[in-house]
Amino acid sequence: MRRYVDTYLGEARVAIQQQAQYRIPAFFNLAGFMIEPVVYLVVWRTVAAQSGPIGGYGVAEFTSYYIVWTLVRVMNLALAPGAWDWWIQNGRIANELLHPVGLYHRQLANFAGGKVIWMVMWVPMALFLGVIFRPELSPSITEGVVFFLAIWLGYWIRFNVLWLMGLISFWTTKAQALIEVVIALEVLLSGRLVPMAVMPEWVAAISAWLPFKWTFQFPIEVLIGRLDTTEVFVGLLTQFGWGIGTVALIGLIWKTAVKRFTAVGS
C-alpha cells in the first residue's frame, strides 16, 4: 500500500512539474476545452430566454450548470484512447510494460497531478466567464465536500472507460470509429450536451444505466444544488460501483491484451 501511495505522489509531482514547465501550451489547450461549454451555455440561455424554463432549467440554472461544467471538464480529462494506437504501433509500450509499477497506476496518477496546474489555469477563465454570464451559485460546505468527492470519482470512472477503449488497440489499430461512437454516446448521455432534464424521458432513463452521466451531470448537479440527500447518496454509491466495476473489467481484459503484444525487436 505504501508503495502505491509513494508511486501516486511521485507521478503526480512529476506531472505538476511537466505541466508547469509548458504553461502556455497547457493554457491554450485548456482554453480550447472551455469553448465547448461556452457554446452550449450561449445556445441554451438563448433558448430559455425565448421559451422559458425547460425541465426546471431557466437562464440562471443553465448558466450555473455550464459554468460548473467547465470545472468538471478540467477534472475528468483523462488519457485519450488514441494514445494506445501510437504506443502499440511504435512498440513504445514495451518500455512501459517493463516498469515495476503498473501503467494504469502511473497514468491515473499522472493525469491527477496535471489537474493541479489545470485548476490554477481554470480559475482566471472561470472568473472571466463568471463576470460575463453571472451564474447564481451558493453551494453549502456539505455540497462542496460532496462535489469534491464526486468529481474525483467521476474522473476515475471516465479514466477507466477511456482506458477500456484504449485497450481495443491491442486487437485492432482501427478502433477510432468505435471510440467515436462511444464519445458520441458520452456527449448525448452524460449531460455534456444538455442536462438530462432537457432530453426526452426515455433518453434520461437509459443514461441512468450507463457510466457517462456519473462523470458529468452528477457532480455538476451536486454543486448547483439540484439533488436531495438520497439522490446524492445513491449517486455516490453508483459512482463507486462504476469505478470498481470498470477497474475489475480492466483487470480482466489487461491480462489477455498484454499476452497479444509482441515487442518490436523481439
Partner: protein, 265 residues
C-alpha cells in the same frame, strides 16, 4: 512554366500520390463513413433538441441552422483532408529539424509544406456536408437564385482560404514557439463553435471568431448567402478579411522562415 503553374502541378501530384496510397486501405473508407455519420448525428440531435423547445434561435430557423451545420461539416472535411495533415507534419519537422529537406527543394517551401499530405478518406465529410447543405436548401422555403449560389460559392472559397490561413499562421508560430501541437485544441474548439451562427454569441466571442480567428466568417457567411441573409457589406467584409489573411499568412511565413536555423545549427 510560371511559378504558380509549377506550384499547382506539384500540389496535384502530391494529392494524386496521397490518394493512391490511401486507396490501398479501403477499410478506412468504411470507418471514416461511420465516424462522419456519428458526428453528423450528434450535430442533428443538438439542432433537433433546440427546435424541440423553440421556433427559432435568435431569428435563425431550423433549415438555416442546418445550412450552418452543413457548411461546418464541409469545411471541416476540407480541413481534415488537405490542411491538418500538412500542418501537423510541418510542426513535427520544425521541432525535429527535418524541415531542412523542405527548404532545399526547388519549389516554394510554403506551397510544398501545405500540399504534400492528403487524408483522402476524410473527403467523406465534404460529400456529407454537401448533402446536408442540399437538405437545408430544400427546407428553406425560398428558392436559391443564381446570385445567391454565386455568393455562396465565393464565400465558401473564402472560407476554405481562411481556414488554411488560420492553420498556417498557427503552424508557422512553431518556428518561434516550437511545441505548438498541444495548442491545436484551441483551434479545434473554436472550429466547433462555428457549428452555430456567429451572431448568437456574445460580442467578445463574436469578435474573436470574426477578427482574431475568423472561423465565424468562414462558416456563417456562406450559410448566410444560402439563407438570403447576406448583405453586400458583409460580403465585402468577408472578401477583405480573406485578402488580408492571405497577405498576412505569406508575410508571417517569410518572417518565421527567417528564424529557422536548421537541424545542425
Amino acid at each position: 512554366m510560371s511559378v504558380i503553374g509549377h506550384s499547382v502541378r506539384v500540389a496535384l501530384l502530391h494529392w494524386k500520390i496521397g490518394a493512391m496510397y490511401e486507396m490501398q486501405y479501403r477499410l478506412n473508407f468504411v470507418l471514416q463513413v461511420i465516424q462522419s455519420v456519428v458526428r453528423l448525428a450528434t450535430g442533428l440531435v443538438a439542432i433537433e433538441l433546440v427546435f424541440g423547445h423553440t421556433g427559432d434561435l435568435s431569428g435563425w430557423t431550423q433549415p438555416e441552422l442546418l445550412a450552418v451545420l452543413g457548411v461546418q461539416i464541409l469545411l471541416g472535411g476540407i480541413m481534415q483532408t488537405f490542411i491538418i495533415p500538412n500542418m501537423f507534419s510541418l510542426m513535427f519537422e520544425i521541432v525535429e529539424g527535418d524541415f531542412d529537406f523542405t527548404v532545399v527543394r526547388p519549389v516554394d517551401a510554403q506551397v510544398f509544406a501545405s500540399t504534400r499530405r492528403i487524408s483522402f478518406w476524410s473527403f467523406v465529410d465534404v460529400v456529407l456536408g454537401g448533402v446536408v447543405i442540399g437538405w437545408a436548401v430544400s427546407g428553406l422555403g425560398t428558392s436559391v437564385g443564381v446570385l445567391d449560389a454565386l455568393a455562396f460559392t465565393l464565400t465558401l472559397v473564402c472560407g476554405m482560404l481562411l481556414v488554411y490561413c488560420i492553420w498556417m499562421i498557427f503552424t508557422t508560430s512553431a518556428f518561434k514557439l516550437i511545441n505548438v501541437d498541444d495548442m491545436a485544441q484551441l483551434l479545434q474548439g473554436l472550429y466547433e463553435a462555428g457549428r452555430w451562427p456567429v451572431r448568437i454569441y456574445p460580442l467578445w466571442l463574436q469578435g474573436i471568431l470574426t477578427i482574431i480567428v475568423p472561423l465565424g466568417v468562414a462558416i456563417t457567411v456562406p450559410a448566410e448567402a444560402l439563407a438570403d441573409r447576406l448583405t453586400p457589406g458583409v460580403l465585402t467584409l468577408a472578401l477583405a478579411i480573406t485578402a488580408l489573411a492571405l497577405i498576412s499568412t505569406r508575410a508571417f511565413w517569410r518572417w518565421g522562415l527567417k528564424s529557422y536555423s536548421g537541424a545542425s545549427a
